[in-house]
């Protein structure tokens, strides 16, 4: 295990992993660069092979794939909230899972602090799990109903052998609960999940994630199953944690209006690709891709006097097995041109951090 030199901050190339077999060791993770972007994805692909029966697999000329992610280019900065927005099946959850290395990419590169995610050794992965956490959609099913809040939040610490005494464990659990807005934490320690409301349960889930001191938390529809009146507090908590703990949040949601409230940047996804990405205000107020325009136009607004024109797309997202040719949005696009059926659009820089992939753009 020889030492590696930290590569320059903005170099997107992979840092040479030090292990004997070219794998990333836990030591590399500790020494990894501390500046530059947290994640650097280039042409990332995740394709799932379709399981076929014995006969079909003998007869079929080629293997078929679900193109869950198909060419993602993305840099994620430290301490930002990036919202991934899109309809179901667009690959937003797969992207989140790939960042957590719960899914292995099948093509392209994904670098975490300059280290290739795919080459992590078992030990490095364990180390990485402390740094990357997830919050699930449904807090009612995500936590064990037979454990006390204390046990739930302490579990990640025990699994990762991060505490050496009872006192330390308690101190860290209490700190995590307070950071997650359950104050005073001592009141909650020995309660069971059924004694808490939905919002409080989601806070417990968040506490279970932040107790390890992660760099990244993937929040997969964290408020979709919560009531409106408590939703905002959970969103606010994410912003507070971003600011105080420096956590990077990947906020996966189908609701653009929620992304609008808290995220720094929004990435709109369609069929495994990012079609538009930029600063939140810019994307929402000045959408350039026809898909983003349509998504924004159909968000219901709590104001009956505002009758605006809605762009309602026909049909549903095509299946990600046989992708449309050219621009993959063209079969549903209201502004489709002939060229869209043949040519694949590239990302067009629209100033600032704003990019969109559409052939209509200059």
């Amino acid at each position: 295990m020889s030492s590696t030199e930290t590569p320059p901050a903005d170099a997107p190339t992979a840092a040479a992993p030090s292990g004997k077999t070219g794998r990333v060791c836990p030591e590399d993770l500790q020494k990894a660069q501390t500046n530059g972007s947290l994640f650097d994805l280039q042409d990332l692909q995740v394709h799932f092979p379709i399981q076929q029966g014995f006969f079909k697999s003998m007869v079929a000329t080629q293997k078929r794939y679900v193109h869950a992610l198909d060419g993602i280019d993305l840099q994620i900065a430290r301490g930002e909230i990036l919202a991934l927005v899109g309809e179901s099946g667009c690959g937003k959850t797969t992207l989140g899972r790939t960042l957590l290395r719960l899914e292995k990419s099948t093509g392209g590169t994904a670098l975490y602090k300059g280290l290739p995610l795919n080459k992590f050794s078992e030990k490095a992965l364990r180390e990485y799990r402390k740094k990357a956490q997830i919050i699930f959609q449904d807090p009612y099913n995500a936590i064990n109903p037979k454990q006390t809040i204390f046990d739930i939040v302490a579990e990640p610490l025990l699994v990762n052998q991060m505490v050496h005494s009872e006192k330390e464990k308690e101190a860290r659990v209490i700190k995590a609960l307070e950071e997650s807005g359950l104050r005073p934490a001592r009141d909650y320690l020995f309660r069971y999940p059924h004694e808490l409301s939905g919002g409080q349960r989601q806070r417990v889930c968040i506490a279970g994630a932040v107790v390890l001191g992660p760099d990244l938390i993937v929040a997969d529809e964290p408020v979709a199953s919560l009531d409106v009146s408590i939703r905002n507090d959970i969103l606010k908590l994410m912003v507070v944690q971003k600011e105080t703990l420096g956590v990077t949040y990947i906020f996966i949601t189908h609701d653009l209006s929620l992304a609008w409230v808290i995220s720094d940047r929004i990435a709109v996804m369609y069929l495994g690709k990012i079609v538009e990405i930029g600063e939140t205000e810019e994307v929402v107020k000045n959408p350039r891709h026809p898909y983003t325009k349509a998504l924004i136009s159909v968000i219901p607004v709590p104001d009956p006097t505002k009758k605006r024109e809605r762009i309602i797309l026909k049909g549903e997202t095509p299946n990600p097995i046989d992708l449309p040719t050219g621009c993959r949005f063209h079969p549903r696009c209201p502004e489709c041109m002939d060229i869209c059926k043949e040519q694949t659009p590239r990302d067009i820089h629209l100033g600032g951090n704003h990019y969109a992939a559409c052939l209509r753009l200059p």
Binding site: E87, V298, R310, I312
Partner: protein, 375 residues
Amino acid sequence: MSAATKKAKKGAPAAKSAAEKKVARIEHPGLLDVRDLKAYFRLSAGWVKAVDGISFTLEPGESLGLAGESGCGKTTAATALIKLLPENGRIVSGEVLFDGINLAKRTEFGMSKIRWKEISMIFQGAMNALNPVKEVGDQIIEPIRLHDNIGEKAALARAKELFELVGINPKRIGEYPHQMSGGMRQRAMIAMALACNPRLVIGDEPTTALDVMVQAQILELIEKLREELHLSFILISHDLSVMAETCDKGVIMYAGKVVEQGSVEQIFNNAEHPYTKRLIKSFPNIHEKREMVSSIPGDPPNLLYPPSGCNFSPRCERCFEPCTSIEPQLTEIEPGHFVSCHLFGVPDQATQDAASADVAATDADLAAALEAEAQ
């Protein structure tokens, strides 16, 4: 007891339907007139007042939104309208007047003539509401054949017509629910609800589990059908912004009670109840300034042990003295706009006494009913 009712059900149909025809039409405004409807659930710990006095009128072709957080009683209210309450639920008092008939007093057999033929329902989550082992077409044919005396072929033709109406290719009539996407299943549900040309359709969170784009498609479809078929529509939704876009009138519920009701313009542009105001603000509006709105502190009360006075008082920022002791009454603050809040006048002693006497009477009734059942 159950054996007796079963017997009655079996023996009576012919005689009863004849009797029901003689029942005089009750005069009432609109197509549907709900008056002080109360539906409670019986639990071992006591009665849960899930819907505690809701009144509204619905004209033909009008749409009404019932909104509130989960557990506020909006679904119970809707199921009480067509008497589909679970076994431990019952309509305690109030009237549901539909086209001159009081549904609250109607028998199960009488209701079976109304359900689907006159009033139908689009259920939440089409995934669970459709039978997975039956073809979608067959499921649509079922109510048609049950209510309209027509043959299978004619019913199938009608089902195909309905598929066309809701925008599904009629060729897919023989498919099973799992072969359809979520949006398609919801469309099939709508086709099913329209099968017998009902006059009133109740949509219980018809778009909640759907994607934004599909939600927009479904809402557009409902709006189109409403205009074409001159349907009355009751939308139950936790999403106030959906209500703002699709309904003419709105009822906001909190903990089983109506806190505010009126036209959607009145509710959204001129909300007066502190709860409605906070709830509307909780929805991000992308056309306005980007800001983080705080939630409503606290949780909805446990309806087994509701707080004294106003149910919202423990969470209300404008709570003052009478709120914790006296129950507010719905007051009309402008034509058609009702608010139940002490900020708009505390009821005088006589009304208070009358109201508490009323509550005491129902409570006594309920206690008696419980006791009778226990024996």
